[in-house]
Protein backbone atom coordinates (compact mmCIF):
# COMPACT_ATOMS: atom_id res chain seq x y z
CA UNK A 1 0.00 0.00 0.00
CA UNK A 2 1.34 3.40 -0.98
CA UNK A 3 2.23 5.36 2.16
CA UNK A 4 0.22 8.51 2.63
CA UNK A 5 3.18 10.32 4.12
CA UNK A 6 6.87 9.83 3.44
CA UNK A 7 9.42 11.83 5.39
CA UNK A 8 12.95 11.73 3.99
CA UNK A 9 16.01 13.26 5.64
CA UNK A 10 14.10 16.12 7.11
CA UNK A 11 16.32 18.73 8.69
CA UNK A 12 15.20 21.84 10.60
CA UNK A 13 17.60 24.41 11.90
CA UNK A 14 16.62 27.42 13.88
CA UNK A 15 18.76 30.51 13.56
CA UNK A 16 18.56 32.88 16.46
CA UNK A 17 20.27 36.09 17.29
CA UNK A 18 21.21 36.49 20.87
CA UNK A 19 21.33 39.84 22.53
CA UNK A 20 24.81 40.57 21.30
CA UNK A 21 23.87 40.03 17.70
CA UNK A 22 25.85 36.88 17.07
CA UNK A 23 23.84 34.34 15.13
CA UNK A 24 23.37 30.99 16.77
CA UNK A 25 21.95 27.79 15.41
CA UNK A 26 19.86 25.13 16.96
CA UNK A 27 19.35 21.81 15.22
CA UNK A 28 15.81 20.64 15.97
CA UNK A 29 15.47 17.85 13.40
CA UNK A 30 18.54 15.92 12.39
CA UNK A 31 17.73 14.01 9.20
CA UNK A 32 14.45 12.37 10.14
CA UNK A 33 13.02 9.67 7.86
CA UNK A 34 9.97 7.45 8.17
CA UNK A 35 6.78 6.50 6.34
CA UNK A 36 3.17 6.37 7.41
CA UNK A 37 0.54 4.19 5.75
CA UNK A 38 -2.92 5.51 5.15
CA UNK A 39 -5.41 4.84 7.93
CA UNK A 40 -2.76 3.75 10.42
CA UNK A 41 -2.00 5.22 13.80
CA UNK A 42 1.55 6.23 14.62
CA UNK A 43 2.78 7.61 17.93
CA UNK A 44 5.95 9.69 18.01
CA UNK A 45 7.39 9.48 21.49
CA UNK A 46 10.29 11.32 23.04
CA UNK A 47 11.27 13.52 25.92
CA UNK A 48 11.08 17.33 25.86
CA UNK A 49 13.41 18.87 23.37
CA UNK A 50 13.64 15.77 21.19
CA UNK A 51 12.08 17.60 18.26
CA UNK A 52 8.61 16.06 18.25
CA UNK A 53 6.68 19.31 18.08
CA UNK A 54 8.95 20.67 15.37
CA UNK A 55 8.33 17.52 13.36
CA UNK A 56 4.59 17.97 13.83
CA UNK A 57 4.72 21.60 12.68
CA UNK A 58 6.73 20.70 9.61
CA UNK A 59 4.36 17.92 8.59
CA UNK A 60 1.41 20.27 9.06
CA UNK A 61 3.16 22.82 6.80
CA UNK A 62 3.20 25.44 9.52
CA UNK A 63 6.99 25.54 9.50
CA UNK A 64 9.37 25.24 6.58
CA UNK A 65 12.04 22.57 6.93
CA UNK A 66 15.61 23.58 6.20
CA UNK A 67 16.17 20.61 3.91
CA UNK A 68 14.84 17.14 3.07
CA UNK A 69 11.60 16.06 1.48
CA UNK A 70 8.07 15.55 2.74
CA UNK A 71 5.96 13.51 0.38
CA UNK A 72 2.23 13.79 0.85
CA UNK A 73 0.08 12.07 -1.75
CA UNK A 74 2.72 12.54 -4.37
CA UNK A 75 3.57 16.19 -3.69
CA UNK A 76 6.78 17.39 -2.10
CA UNK A 77 5.54 19.77 0.55
CA UNK A 78 8.95 21.28 1.20
CA UNK A 79 9.16 22.64 -2.30
CA UNK A 80 5.56 23.70 -2.77
CA UNK A 81 4.57 27.32 -3.18
CA UNK A 82 2.57 29.08 -0.52
CA UNK A 83 -0.59 29.14 -2.62
CA UNK A 84 -0.44 25.36 -3.08
CA UNK A 85 0.32 24.83 0.58
CA UNK A 86 -2.76 26.79 1.50
CA UNK A 87 -4.83 24.20 -0.32
CA UNK A 88 -2.94 21.30 1.19
CA UNK A 89 -2.92 22.45 4.81
CA UNK A 90 -6.59 21.70 5.49
CA UNK A 91 -5.86 18.05 4.71
CA UNK A 92 -3.21 17.79 7.40
CA UNK A 93 -4.64 19.11 10.63
CA UNK A 94 -2.59 19.82 13.76
CA UNK A 95 -4.01 19.87 17.27
CA UNK A 96 -2.05 21.93 19.76
CA UNK A 97 -1.02 20.97 23.27
CA UNK A 98 -2.81 23.71 25.11
CA UNK A 99 -6.42 23.94 24.05
CA UNK A 100 -6.84 27.29 25.76
CA UNK A 101 -4.32 28.94 23.49
CA UNK A 102 -5.56 27.47 20.28
CA UNK A 103 -9.14 28.61 20.63
CA UNK A 104 -9.95 32.27 20.28
CA UNK A 105 -11.52 32.95 23.68
CA UNK A 106 -13.94 35.60 22.56
CA UNK A 107 -15.55 33.50 19.85
CA UNK A 108 -18.52 31.24 20.45
CA UNK A 109 -18.25 27.48 20.14
CA UNK A 110 -20.28 27.41 16.98
CA UNK A 111 -18.16 30.08 15.35
CA UNK A 112 -14.99 28.18 16.17
CA UNK A 113 -16.21 24.97 14.58
CA UNK A 114 -17.66 26.75 11.58
CA UNK A 115 -14.57 28.84 10.90
CA UNK A 116 -12.70 26.30 8.76
CA UNK A 117 -15.77 25.76 6.61
CA UNK A 118 -16.19 29.52 6.31
CA UNK A 119 -12.61 29.90 5.21
CA UNK A 120 -12.89 27.23 2.57
CA UNK A 121 -16.08 28.85 1.38
CA UNK A 122 -17.56 25.79 -0.21
CA UNK A 123 -20.75 25.18 1.73
CA UNK A 124 -23.83 27.31 2.20
CA UNK A 125 -24.54 28.70 5.63
CA UNK A 126 -27.21 26.18 6.56
CA UNK A 127 -25.04 23.28 5.56
CA UNK A 128 -22.15 24.68 7.52
CA UNK A 129 -24.23 24.89 10.66
CA UNK A 130 -25.58 21.38 10.18
CA UNK A 131 -22.14 19.96 9.71
CA UNK A 132 -20.90 21.85 12.75
CA UNK A 133 -23.65 20.51 14.97
CA UNK A 134 -23.09 16.94 13.86
CA UNK A 135 -19.38 17.27 14.65
CA UNK A 136 -20.09 18.71 18.07
CA UNK A 137 -22.32 15.77 18.77
CA UNK A 138 -19.67 13.37 17.52
CA UNK A 139 -17.13 14.65 20.04
CA UNK A 140 -19.59 14.71 22.86
CA UNK A 141 -20.40 18.38 23.23
CA UNK A 142 -24.02 19.26 23.86
CA UNK A 143 -25.70 21.21 21.08
CA UNK A 144 -27.19 23.77 23.45
CA UNK A 145 -23.71 24.99 24.31
CA UNK A 146 -23.09 26.15 20.79
CA UNK A 147 -23.76 29.83 21.47
CA UNK A 148 -21.54 30.05 24.54
CA UNK A 149 -18.11 31.70 24.33
CA UNK A 150 -15.25 29.25 24.29
CA UNK A 151 -13.83 30.78 27.45
CA UNK A 152 -16.54 29.10 29.46
CA UNK A 153 -15.48 25.56 28.64
CA UNK A 154 -13.45 23.28 30.87
CA UNK A 155 -10.13 21.83 29.69
CA UNK A 156 -11.60 18.54 28.53
CA UNK A 157 -14.42 20.26 26.70
CA UNK A 158 -11.99 22.56 24.98
CA UNK A 159 -9.99 19.67 23.72
CA UNK A 160 -13.15 18.10 22.36
CA UNK A 161 -13.91 21.38 20.63
CA UNK A 162 -10.43 21.50 19.14
CA UNK A 163 -10.85 17.97 17.84
CA UNK A 164 -14.24 18.83 16.36
CA UNK A 165 -12.76 21.85 14.62
CA UNK A 166 -9.88 19.81 13.26
CA UNK A 167 -12.30 17.29 11.79
CA UNK A 168 -14.56 19.79 10.00
CA UNK A 169 -12.57 19.68 6.82
CA UNK A 170 -12.27 15.90 6.91
CA UNK A 171 -8.48 15.86 6.93
CA UNK A 172 -6.49 12.89 5.68
CA UNK A 173 -3.97 13.18 8.49
CA UNK A 174 -4.72 14.31 12.03
CA UNK A 175 -1.71 15.18 14.18
CA UNK A 176 -2.28 15.47 17.90
CA UNK A 177 0.58 17.24 19.65
CA UNK A 178 0.50 16.30 23.34
CA UNK A 179 -3.27 16.35 23.13
CA UNK A 180 -3.73 14.84 26.56
CA UNK A 181 -0.88 16.32 28.57
CA UNK A 182 -2.72 19.47 29.60
CA UNK A 183 -5.66 17.56 31.02
CA UNK A 184 -6.48 15.98 34.37
CA UNK A 185 -6.11 12.20 34.63
CA UNK A 186 -9.79 11.38 34.56
CA UNK A 187 -10.40 13.69 31.63
CA UNK A 188 -7.44 12.14 29.82
CA UNK A 189 -9.14 8.78 29.90
CA UNK A 190 -12.33 10.24 28.43
CA UNK A 191 -10.53 11.98 25.58
CA UNK A 192 -8.41 8.90 24.96
CA UNK A 193 -11.56 6.87 24.54
CA UNK A 194 -12.98 9.46 22.18
CA UNK A 195 -9.84 9.24 20.08
CA UNK A 196 -9.99 5.47 19.93
CA UNK A 197 -13.62 5.74 18.91
CA UNK A 198 -12.78 8.18 16.13
CA UNK A 199 -9.94 5.98 14.94
CA UNK A 200 -12.22 3.06 14.43
CA UNK A 201 -14.95 5.04 12.67
CA UNK A 202 -12.94 7.37 10.43
CA UNK A 203 -10.48 6.61 7.70
CA UNK A 204 -8.14 9.35 8.91
CA UNK A 205 -4.49 8.66 9.59
CA UNK A 206 -3.60 9.55 13.17
CA UNK A 207 -0.26 10.84 14.37
CA UNK A 208 0.16 11.13 18.14
CA UNK A 209 2.96 13.21 19.59
CA UNK A 210 3.54 12.42 23.23
CA UNK A 211 6.13 11.86 25.92
CA UNK A 212 3.93 9.33 27.64
CA UNK A 213 4.85 5.84 26.44
CA UNK A 214 1.85 4.17 28.08
CA UNK A 215 -0.54 6.53 26.32
CA UNK A 216 1.26 5.88 23.04
CA UNK A 217 0.82 2.16 23.40
CA UNK A 218 -2.84 2.59 24.28
CA UNK A 219 -3.63 4.83 21.34
CA UNK A 220 -1.38 3.75 18.48
CA UNK A 221 -0.39 0.65 16.54
CA UNK A 222 3.07 1.89 15.69
CA UNK A 223 5.58 3.81 17.74
CA UNK A 224 8.56 5.88 16.63
CA UNK A 225 10.95 7.03 19.34
CA UNK A 226 12.72 10.34 18.92
CA UNK A 227 15.79 11.59 20.71
CA UNK A 228 17.84 14.71 19.98
CA UNK A 229 16.15 15.32 16.66
CA UNK A 230 16.49 11.77 15.32
CA UNK A 231 14.27 8.74 15.13
CA UNK A 232 16.06 6.04 17.06
CA UNK A 233 13.45 3.25 16.96
CA UNK A 234 10.41 2.56 14.85
CA UNK A 235 8.12 -0.44 14.99
CA UNK A 236 4.85 -1.94 16.24
CA UNK A 237 3.88 -0.70 19.69
CA UNK A 238 3.93 -3.99 21.50
CA UNK A 239 7.30 -4.95 20.11
CA UNK A 240 8.91 -1.61 21.04
CA UNK A 241 7.63 -1.79 24.55
CA UNK A 242 8.54 -5.38 25.23
CA UNK A 243 11.91 -5.25 23.53
CA UNK A 244 13.32 -1.75 23.57
CA UNK A 245 16.65 -1.66 21.82
CA UNK A 246 17.66 1.98 22.11
CA UNK A 247 18.71 3.66 25.30
CA UNK A 248 16.20 6.46 24.86
CA UNK A 249 13.31 4.00 24.68
CA UNK A 250 14.58 2.24 27.74
CA UNK A 251 14.73 5.52 29.63
CA UNK A 252 11.17 6.35 28.63
CA UNK A 253 10.06 2.93 29.75
CA UNK A 254 11.86 3.28 33.03
CA UNK A 255 10.03 6.53 33.68
CA UNK A 256 6.66 4.82 33.72
CA UNK A 257 5.42 4.46 37.32
CA UNK A 258 4.75 0.86 38.12
CA UNK A 259 1.53 0.17 39.99
CA UNK A 260 0.82 -3.26 41.52
CA UNK A 261 -2.21 -3.83 39.35
CA UNK A 262 -1.46 -2.01 36.11
CA UNK A 263 -4.40 -1.57 33.69
CA UNK A 264 -1.97 -1.77 30.82
CA UNK A 265 -1.40 -5.45 30.28
CA UNK A 266 1.27 -4.80 27.68
CA UNK A 267 3.65 -3.34 30.23
CA UNK A 268 2.94 -5.65 33.11
CA UNK A 269 6.09 -7.02 34.59
Amino acid sequence: MEPILKVENLVKRYAKRNLVGMPEEFLALDSVSFTVSAGSTLAIVGESGSGKSTLASCIACLETPTSGTLWFEGTNLVQSAESDLRKIRPQIQLLFPDPAGSLSPRWTILDIVVEPLLLQGKLARKERTTRAFSLLERVGLAADMAERPAAELSGGQRQRLAIARALTLQPKILILDEALSALDCSVQAQIANLLLDLQSSLATTFLFITHDLTMAVHLADEIAVMSHGRIVEHGPSTKIVQNPSHEATQQLLAAVPRLPRSPWPAIQQ
Binding site: K16, N18, L19, V20, G21, E24
Partner: protein, 325 residues
Protein backbone atom coordinates in the same frame (compact mmCIF):
# COMPACT_ATOMS: atom_id res chain seq x y z
CA UNK B 1 29.32 42.17 27.61
CA UNK B 2 31.33 44.83 25.91
CA UNK B 3 30.01 44.03 22.49
CA UNK B 4 26.45 44.66 23.57
CA UNK B 5 27.29 48.08 24.89
CA UNK B 6 29.39 48.95 21.90
CA UNK B 7 26.49 48.05 19.71
CA UNK B 8 24.18 50.32 21.67
CA UNK B 9 26.75 53.10 21.44
CA UNK B 10 27.03 52.76 17.69
CA UNK B 11 23.27 52.81 17.55
CA UNK B 12 23.09 56.05 19.52
CA UNK B 13 25.70 57.63 17.31
CA UNK B 14 23.83 56.68 14.16
CA UNK B 15 20.73 58.17 15.66
CA UNK B 16 22.37 61.50 16.28
CA UNK B 17 23.71 61.60 12.74
CA UNK B 18 20.27 60.81 11.33
CA UNK B 19 18.73 63.59 13.38
CA UNK B 20 21.25 66.07 12.06
CA UNK B 21 20.34 65.10 8.52
CA UNK B 22 16.65 65.42 9.30
CA UNK B 23 17.18 68.80 10.88
CA UNK B 24 19.05 70.02 7.82
CA UNK B 25 16.30 68.72 5.60
CA UNK B 26 13.66 70.62 7.51
CA UNK B 27 15.46 73.89 7.19
CA UNK B 28 15.33 73.60 3.44
CA UNK B 29 11.57 73.53 3.63
CA UNK B 30 11.69 77.22 4.36
CA UNK B 31 10.14 78.99 1.44
CA UNK B 32 11.86 81.86 -0.18
CA UNK B 33 15.53 82.26 -0.60
CA UNK B 34 16.80 82.40 2.93
CA UNK B 35 20.30 83.16 1.95
CA UNK B 36 19.34 86.17 -0.05
CA UNK B 37 17.80 87.52 3.10
CA UNK B 38 21.08 86.93 4.87
CA UNK B 39 22.95 88.81 2.25
CA UNK B 40 20.66 91.78 2.68
CA UNK B 41 21.03 91.77 6.44
CA UNK B 42 22.86 94.96 7.40
CA UNK B 43 23.99 93.52 10.69
CA UNK B 44 26.43 91.20 9.02
CA UNK B 45 29.58 92.79 7.64
CA UNK B 46 30.45 91.98 4.03
CA UNK B 47 33.75 90.40 5.01
CA UNK B 48 31.95 88.09 7.40
CA UNK B 49 29.54 87.25 4.61
CA UNK B 50 32.37 86.25 2.33
CA UNK B 51 34.07 84.21 5.04
CA UNK B 52 30.79 82.50 5.94
CA UNK B 53 30.01 81.80 2.35
CA UNK B 54 33.38 80.17 1.94
CA UNK B 55 33.21 78.17 5.11
CA UNK B 56 29.66 76.97 4.95
CA UNK B 57 29.05 76.96 1.20
CA UNK B 58 25.94 78.96 1.85
CA UNK B 59 24.65 79.18 -1.65
CA UNK B 60 25.43 75.65 -2.70
CA UNK B 61 22.97 72.76 -2.76
CA UNK B 62 21.98 70.92 0.38
CA UNK B 63 24.36 67.95 0.44
CA UNK B 64 27.37 70.22 0.09
CA UNK B 65 26.10 72.50 2.83
CA UNK B 66 25.62 69.48 5.04
CA UNK B 67 29.06 68.18 4.28
CA UNK B 68 30.74 71.47 5.13
CA UNK B 69 28.73 71.73 8.32
CA UNK B 70 29.77 68.20 9.23
CA UNK B 71 33.32 69.22 8.55
CA UNK B 72 33.07 72.13 10.93
CA UNK B 73 31.54 69.87 13.58
CA UNK B 74 34.60 67.69 13.42
CA UNK B 75 36.59 70.81 14.19
CA UNK B 76 34.49 71.57 17.21
CA UNK B 77 32.19 74.19 15.73
CA UNK B 78 28.60 73.93 14.79
CA UNK B 79 27.97 76.74 12.44
CA UNK B 80 27.39 80.42 12.79
CA UNK B 81 24.58 82.40 14.28
CA UNK B 82 23.33 85.08 11.95
CA UNK B 83 21.37 86.86 14.62
CA UNK B 84 24.19 87.10 17.13
CA UNK B 85 27.07 87.27 14.72
CA UNK B 86 29.08 84.66 16.62
CA UNK B 87 29.75 80.94 16.34
CA UNK B 88 26.98 78.76 17.60
CA UNK B 89 28.72 76.51 20.07
CA UNK B 90 29.66 79.04 22.78
CA UNK B 91 26.15 80.50 22.68
CA UNK B 92 24.58 77.12 23.09
CA UNK B 93 26.93 76.08 25.85
CA UNK B 94 26.09 79.06 28.03
CA UNK B 95 22.38 78.54 27.60
CA UNK B 96 22.62 74.80 28.06
CA UNK B 97 24.46 75.35 31.33
CA UNK B 98 21.61 77.49 32.62
CA UNK B 99 19.04 74.93 31.60
CA UNK B 100 20.96 72.09 33.17
CA UNK B 101 21.19 74.02 36.42
CA UNK B 102 17.42 74.00 36.57
CA UNK B 103 16.70 70.56 35.28
CA UNK B 104 19.33 68.68 37.22
CA UNK B 105 18.14 70.24 40.45
CA UNK B 106 14.53 69.54 39.58
CA UNK B 107 15.23 65.94 38.52
CA UNK B 108 17.14 65.16 41.70
CA UNK B 109 14.45 66.67 43.89
CA UNK B 110 11.65 64.96 41.99
CA UNK B 111 13.26 61.52 42.26
CA UNK B 112 14.16 62.10 45.88
CA UNK B 113 10.51 62.75 46.63
CA UNK B 114 9.00 60.22 44.23
CA UNK B 115 10.95 57.17 45.38
CA UNK B 116 9.94 57.18 49.05
CA UNK B 117 6.42 58.36 48.24
CA UNK B 118 5.95 55.68 45.61
CA UNK B 119 7.37 52.93 47.78
CA UNK B 120 5.26 53.96 50.75
CA UNK B 121 2.20 54.13 48.53
CA UNK B 122 2.84 50.66 47.18
CA UNK B 123 3.36 49.37 50.68
CA UNK B 124 0.01 50.71 51.89
CA UNK B 125 -1.77 49.84 48.66
CA UNK B 126 -5.45 50.72 48.82
CA UNK B 127 -5.28 52.17 52.31
CA UNK B 128 -5.46 55.79 53.37
CA UNK B 129 -1.90 56.99 52.72
CA UNK B 130 -2.00 55.43 49.27
CA UNK B 131 -5.32 56.98 48.45
CA UNK B 132 -4.26 60.41 49.59
CA UNK B 133 -1.11 60.20 47.50
CA UNK B 134 -2.97 58.85 44.49
CA UNK B 135 -5.53 61.59 44.66
CA UNK B 136 -2.91 64.30 45.00
CA UNK B 137 -0.90 63.00 42.08
CA UNK B 138 -4.04 62.67 40.00
CA UNK B 139 -4.92 66.26 40.79
CA UNK B 140 -1.48 67.48 39.85
CA UNK B 141 -1.53 65.36 36.74
CA UNK B 142 -4.64 66.97 35.35
CA UNK B 143 -3.30 70.48 35.68
CA UNK B 144 -1.39 71.22 32.48
CA UNK B 145 2.17 72.50 33.03
CA UNK B 146 1.26 75.69 31.29
CA UNK B 147 -1.38 76.36 33.90
CA UNK B 148 0.99 75.34 36.66
CA UNK B 149 3.74 77.67 35.54
CA UNK B 150 1.42 80.58 34.95
CA UNK B 151 -0.32 79.87 38.22
CA UNK B 152 2.92 79.98 40.18
CA UNK B 153 3.73 83.26 38.48
CA UNK B 154 0.39 84.76 39.41
CA UNK B 155 0.91 83.59 42.96
CA UNK B 156 4.29 85.14 43.22
CA UNK B 157 3.15 88.37 41.66
CA UNK B 158 0.44 88.67 44.26
CA UNK B 159 2.62 87.83 47.20
CA UNK B 160 5.99 89.09 46.12
CA UNK B 161 7.75 86.19 47.84
CA UNK B 162 9.95 85.33 44.90
CA UNK B 163 11.35 87.21 41.96
CA UNK B 164 9.09 86.93 38.98
CA UNK B 165 11.52 85.90 36.38
CA UNK B 166 15.03 85.86 35.09
CA UNK B 167 18.05 84.26 36.61
CA UNK B 168 19.66 87.13 38.46
CA UNK B 169 18.69 90.40 40.01
CA UNK B 170 19.77 93.63 38.47
CA UNK B 171 22.45 94.23 41.04
CA UNK B 172 23.77 90.68 40.92
CA UNK B 173 27.34 91.60 40.20
CA UNK B 174 27.63 93.81 43.22
CA UNK B 175 26.49 91.18 45.70
CA UNK B 176 28.75 89.24 47.97
CA UNK B 177 29.36 85.58 47.12
CA UNK B 178 26.94 84.36 49.73
CA UNK B 179 24.30 86.76 48.56
CA UNK B 180 24.94 85.76 44.98
CA UNK B 181 24.13 82.18 45.83
CA UNK B 182 21.09 83.27 47.76
CA UNK B 183 19.95 85.36 44.83
CA UNK B 184 20.39 82.48 42.44
CA UNK B 185 18.45 80.11 44.67
CA UNK B 186 15.63 82.60 44.99
CA UNK B 187 15.40 82.94 41.26
CA UNK B 188 15.57 79.22 40.77
CA UNK B 189 12.83 78.36 43.23
CA UNK B 190 9.84 79.01 41.03
CA UNK B 191 11.01 77.30 37.87
CA UNK B 192 12.32 74.32 39.83
CA UNK B 193 9.03 74.11 41.73
CA UNK B 194 7.09 74.15 38.49
CA UNK B 195 9.31 71.46 36.99
CA UNK B 196 9.13 69.26 40.06
CA UNK B 197 5.37 69.60 40.35
CA UNK B 198 4.83 68.62 36.74
CA UNK B 199 7.33 65.75 36.82
CA UNK B 200 6.26 64.30 40.15
CA UNK B 201 2.87 62.70 39.40
CA UNK B 202 3.95 60.31 36.64
CA UNK B 203 7.12 59.42 38.58
CA UNK B 204 5.24 58.58 41.77
CA UNK B 205 2.73 56.52 39.83
CA UNK B 206 5.38 54.55 38.04
CA UNK B 207 7.37 53.85 41.19
CA UNK B 208 4.18 52.80 42.94
CA UNK B 209 3.19 50.50 40.08
CA UNK B 210 6.64 48.95 39.77
CA UNK B 211 7.03 48.32 43.50
CA UNK B 212 3.44 47.08 43.87
CA UNK B 213 4.11 44.50 41.17
CA UNK B 214 7.17 43.24 43.00
CA UNK B 215 5.58 43.18 46.44
CA UNK B 216 3.55 40.13 45.50
CA UNK B 217 6.59 38.10 44.65
CA UNK B 218 7.13 34.97 46.74
CA UNK B 219 10.70 35.88 47.57
CA UNK B 220 9.48 38.91 49.48
CA UNK B 221 7.02 36.87 51.48
CA UNK B 222 9.84 34.54 52.33
CA UNK B 223 12.02 37.44 53.44
CA UNK B 224 9.19 38.72 55.57
CA UNK B 225 8.91 35.31 57.12
CA UNK B 226 12.55 35.58 58.10
CA UNK B 227 11.71 38.57 60.21
CA UNK B 228 13.39 41.26 58.16
CA UNK B 229 12.15 44.70 59.22
CA UNK B 230 9.68 46.40 56.91
CA UNK B 231 11.79 49.31 55.84
CA UNK B 232 14.77 47.15 54.94
CA UNK B 233 12.40 44.89 53.08
CA UNK B 234 11.04 47.73 51.04
CA UNK B 235 14.20 49.53 50.18
CA UNK B 236 16.79 46.83 50.01
CA UNK B 237 14.75 43.93 48.70
CA UNK B 238 11.74 45.25 46.84
CA UNK B 239 13.12 48.37 45.25
CA UNK B 240 16.10 46.68 43.56
CA UNK B 241 13.76 44.03 42.18
CA UNK B 242 11.60 46.76 40.72
CA UNK B 243 14.64 48.43 39.25
CA UNK B 244 14.09 47.46 35.63
CA UNK B 245 11.26 49.82 34.71
CA UNK B 246 12.56 52.46 37.08
CA UNK B 247 15.98 52.54 35.50
CA UNK B 248 14.42 52.99 32.07
CA UNK B 249 12.38 55.82 33.50
CA UNK B 250 15.51 57.36 34.96
CA UNK B 251 17.07 57.15 31.54
CA UNK B 252 14.16 59.13 30.17
CA UNK B 253 14.60 61.70 32.92
CA UNK B 254 18.20 62.15 31.91
CA UNK B 255 17.26 62.32 28.27
CA UNK B 256 14.78 65.09 28.93
CA UNK B 257 17.29 67.23 30.82
CA UNK B 258 17.77 69.62 27.97
CA UNK B 259 14.40 69.55 26.28
CA UNK B 260 11.81 69.10 28.99
CA UNK B 261 11.91 72.57 30.47
CA UNK B 262 11.27 74.69 27.42
CA UNK B 263 7.84 75.94 28.33
CA UNK B 264 8.70 76.73 31.91
CA UNK B 265 11.80 78.59 30.88
CA UNK B 266 9.81 80.72 28.49
CA UNK B 267 7.10 81.50 31.00
CA UNK B 268 9.53 82.25 33.80
CA UNK B 269 11.98 84.10 31.57
CA UNK B 270 14.80 81.81 32.57
CA UNK B 271 17.72 82.31 30.15
CA UNK B 272 18.03 78.72 29.13
CA UNK B 273 18.22 76.73 25.93
CA UNK B 274 14.46 76.79 25.40
CA UNK B 275 13.79 80.50 24.95
CA UNK B 276 17.02 80.84 23.02
CA UNK B 277 15.98 78.22 20.51
CA UNK B 278 12.53 79.67 20.23
CA UNK B 279 14.01 83.03 19.40
CA UNK B 280 16.31 81.45 16.86
CA UNK B 281 13.42 79.60 15.27
CA UNK B 282 11.43 82.78 14.90
CA UNK B 283 14.46 84.57 13.52
CA UNK B 284 15.24 81.71 11.13
CA UNK B 285 18.70 81.41 12.59
CA UNK B 286 19.29 78.03 11.02
CA UNK B 287 22.54 76.86 12.49
CA UNK B 288 21.48 77.75 15.99
CA UNK B 289 18.31 75.71 15.56
CA UNK B 290 20.16 72.73 14.17
CA UNK B 291 22.77 72.97 16.88
CA UNK B 292 20.14 73.18 19.60
CA UNK B 293 18.11 70.27 18.27
CA UNK B 294 21.29 68.25 18.03
CA UNK B 295 22.29 69.08 21.61
CA UNK B 296 18.96 67.84 22.85
CA UNK B 297 19.12 64.71 20.76
CA UNK B 298 22.57 63.95 22.08
CA UNK B 299 21.24 64.22 25.59
CA UNK B 300 18.30 62.01 24.78
CA UNK B 301 20.51 59.35 23.23
CA UNK B 302 22.95 59.64 26.10
CA UNK B 303 20.09 59.19 28.51
CA UNK B 304 18.90 56.05 26.76
CA UNK B 305 22.41 54.69 26.58
CA UNK B 306 22.95 55.39 30.26
CA UNK B 307 19.72 53.57 30.99
CA UNK B 308 20.93 50.58 28.96
CA UNK B 309 24.22 50.63 30.87
CA UNK B 310 22.52 50.83 34.24
CA UNK B 311 20.04 48.13 33.29
CA UNK B 312 22.84 45.84 32.29
CA UNK B 313 24.53 46.43 35.60
CA UNK B 314 21.41 46.21 37.73
CA UNK B 315 19.42 43.43 36.12
CA UNK B 316 21.25 40.11 36.07
CA UNK B 317 18.77 38.69 33.62
CA UNK B 318 20.11 40.85 30.85
CA UNK B 319 23.65 39.82 31.60
CA UNK B 320 22.89 36.13 31.47
CA UNK B 321 20.73 36.43 28.36
CA UNK B 322 23.56 37.94 26.43
CA UNK B 323 26.03 35.24 27.34
CA UNK B 324 23.84 32.14 27.39
CA UNK B 325 23.49 29.52 24.62
Amino acid sequence: MMRYLLRRLAHAFLLVVSVSILAFLFTTLAPGNYFDEIRLNPQIAPETMVALRAQYQLDRPLPIRYASWLNSVLHGEMGYSFAYNTPVVPLLLVRAKNTLLLTITATLIAWAIALPLGVWSADRLGRLPDRVISWSTATLLVIPDLALALGLLVLTVRTGWFPTGGMASVDFESLSSLNKIRDLVLHMTLPVAALVLSALPPLVRHVRAAVADVLHAPFLLAAEGHGIPRRTLLFRYALPAAAHPLVSLFGFSIGALLSGSLLIEVVMSWPGLGPFLLEAILARDIYVVIGGVLFSTIFLSAGNFLADLLLYWVDPRIRTESTSR
